[in-house]
C-alpha cells in the first residue's frame, strides 16, 4: 500500500534528519575518541604533546567534513523548488 503524498514527504524528511544525525554521530564519535586519547595520555603523563599535535590536525579535518555535509544538507533543503 502506498502512503499518501504528505505522509510520504514527512517520512522522507524525518529519515533525512536521521541520516544527518547518523553522519554527525559518526564524525562526532571519532572526534570524541581522539579527545579521549589526549585525556588518557595526559592522565598517564605519556607524551601528551604527541596526541595534542596530531589532534590539532585531525580534529579540524573532521569538523570541516561534517560542516560540508551539513552545508549541503541545509543548502539543498532551502534552495529546492516544488516538484
Amino acid at each position: 500500500m502506498e502512503l499518501p503524498h504528505s505522509d510520504f514527504e514527512r517520512l522522507v524528511r524525518t529519515l533525512q534528519w536521521v541520516w544527518l544525525g547518523v553522519a554527525i554521530l559518526l564524525v562526532g564519535g571519532i572526534i570524541i575518541w581522539i579527545i579521549h586519547l589526549i585525556r588518557t595520555a595526559w592522565a598517564l603523563d605519556d607524551v601528551p604533546s604527541a596526541s595534542i599535535a596530531i589532534s590539532l590536525v585531525a580534529i579540524p579535518i573532521f569538523i570541516v567534513l561534517m560542516s560540508v555535509v551539513a552545508y549541503v544538507f541545509w543548502g539543498l533543503r532551502t534552495h529546492g523548488r516544488e516538484r
Partner: protein
Amino acid sequence: MADRDEARDDILLAPIEQTGRGFYWAVALLSVPILWGALAYSVQFYEGLGVTGLHQPVSWGFYVTNFVFFIGISHAGTLISAILRLSKAEWRRPITRMAEVITCMVLFIGAGQILVDLGRPDRIMNVILYGRYQSPLLWDATSISAYMTASLTYLYLPMIPDIAILRDRLGGKRKLFYSVLALGWTGTEQQQRVLNRAIAVMAVLVIPIAVSVHSVVSFVFSMTLQPMWHSTIFGPYFVVGAIFSGIAALIVAMIIFRKAYGLQPYLKPIHFRYLGQLLLVMSLLWFYFTFAEYLTGYYGAEPEEMKVFWSKFSGPFWPFFWGMVLGNFIIPLICLVRLGQHTVGKVLTASLSVVVGMWLERFIIVVPTLSFPRLPFAEGIYWPTWVEWGETAGSFGLFALFYLLFTKFFPIISIWEIREGREAGLKEVEERLITYLPDEVEGKT
C-alpha cells in the same frame, strides 16, 4: 533536448532497473572465494593465529601485505578523481564515479585486514580505549578514518543529482530510499551552486588526506630501525606505488563494466589511451623510486641490510622480486609505449600485470625484512597456509561483490556530469581555451 538526453542515457540506468542472468552468475561465482574466506576466518577465529603461517620472526605476512595493497588501491579513486576534477580534465566525466567507488570499497576491505591480523578481533578495543599517539599504527587508524569519511562524502555528493533521477523514475520501496538520499534535489541553480561549491571543497581537501594516508602507512615500516625499512623516501615511494596500483585497478574495473554493461559509447579507447599514458608515467616513476631505494641500500653495504637485499635479489625471495620488476616495469613498458592499435587490450594487459606486480611489491617489502631481522631472533622463512590464501581470495571476492552490488543501486557513470559535459562543457572548454592562448596583437595581420 532533455528527453533525447534521457533516452540516450537509459543504458546507464539499465543495470538498476533490470537484473539479468549475468548478475546472478557473477554473484554465484564471487560467492566461492567469499565462502572460502569465511571458512578460513572461522577456523582462525576458533583455533587462533596458529593455523596461519605467521610465526616469530615473521609476524606480518599476507594480512599486512593485503592491508598495504588495498589501502594503496584506494588511491585510485578519490585522488585521481579529485586531480582530474580540479584540473578540469573533460575526459574525466565517465571515469570519476568508478574511481570513487573503488576507494570506498577497498578502504573497508583494507581496514578489515587489520581485524583479521589481530587474531582476536575484540583486541581492537585496546586501540580504541588505550591507543597511544606515539605509535605510527595509531596515526594510521586516524588518517584512514579521515580518508574513509572524506571518500564517502566525496562519493556521495556528486551522486545526489543522479539519485534524484532514480527517485523520479523508480517506484515502490526504492523510491523511499532514493528520496531520502536525494536530499530534496530539484536541480535549481542555487542547489547546483551549493553542490558545486561542496564538491570543490572536498576535491581540495581529499588530496592531502589521501597523500597522508599512504605516507602514514609507510611510516609503520620506516619508523622502525629494521633493515630495508628505515628509509626516508618510503613515504613518497608508497604514495607513488599507491597511485600506480590505483590507476591499474581502475582500468581493470572500467574494462570489466564496459563489457558487462555495454558502456562502450561512454568509455572510449581515448579514455584508455589517456589512462594508459598515465600508467606508463607512474611505471617509470615507480621504477625510479625502486632504483633509488635499492641503490642507496646497496651502496651503504650495511651487513644486515645486505642480507635482506640479497634475499630479494637472488635468495629465497627472488621469484617475488623479479616477478615484481616484470609486472610493474617490463610488461607495462612493452604494452604502453605504443598505443596505436588494440589500445584497450594492451592497457588491460599492462593493468593486470601492475595489479599483480604491486601486490608482490607489498609482499617483498613486508616479509623479507621480518625474515632477516636486525635483532638476534632466529631467522625464518614465511609460507602462508590455506587460511591466509582463503582470506586473501575472500577479500578480493568481497571487493568485487561490493562493487557489483553498488552498480545495482547507483549509476556507475555520473549521468548529470555527462549531461553537463554535453550542454555546457563544449562552450566552457572553448572559452577556457581562448584564455590560454596569447591575445591577438592589434594591427598585425
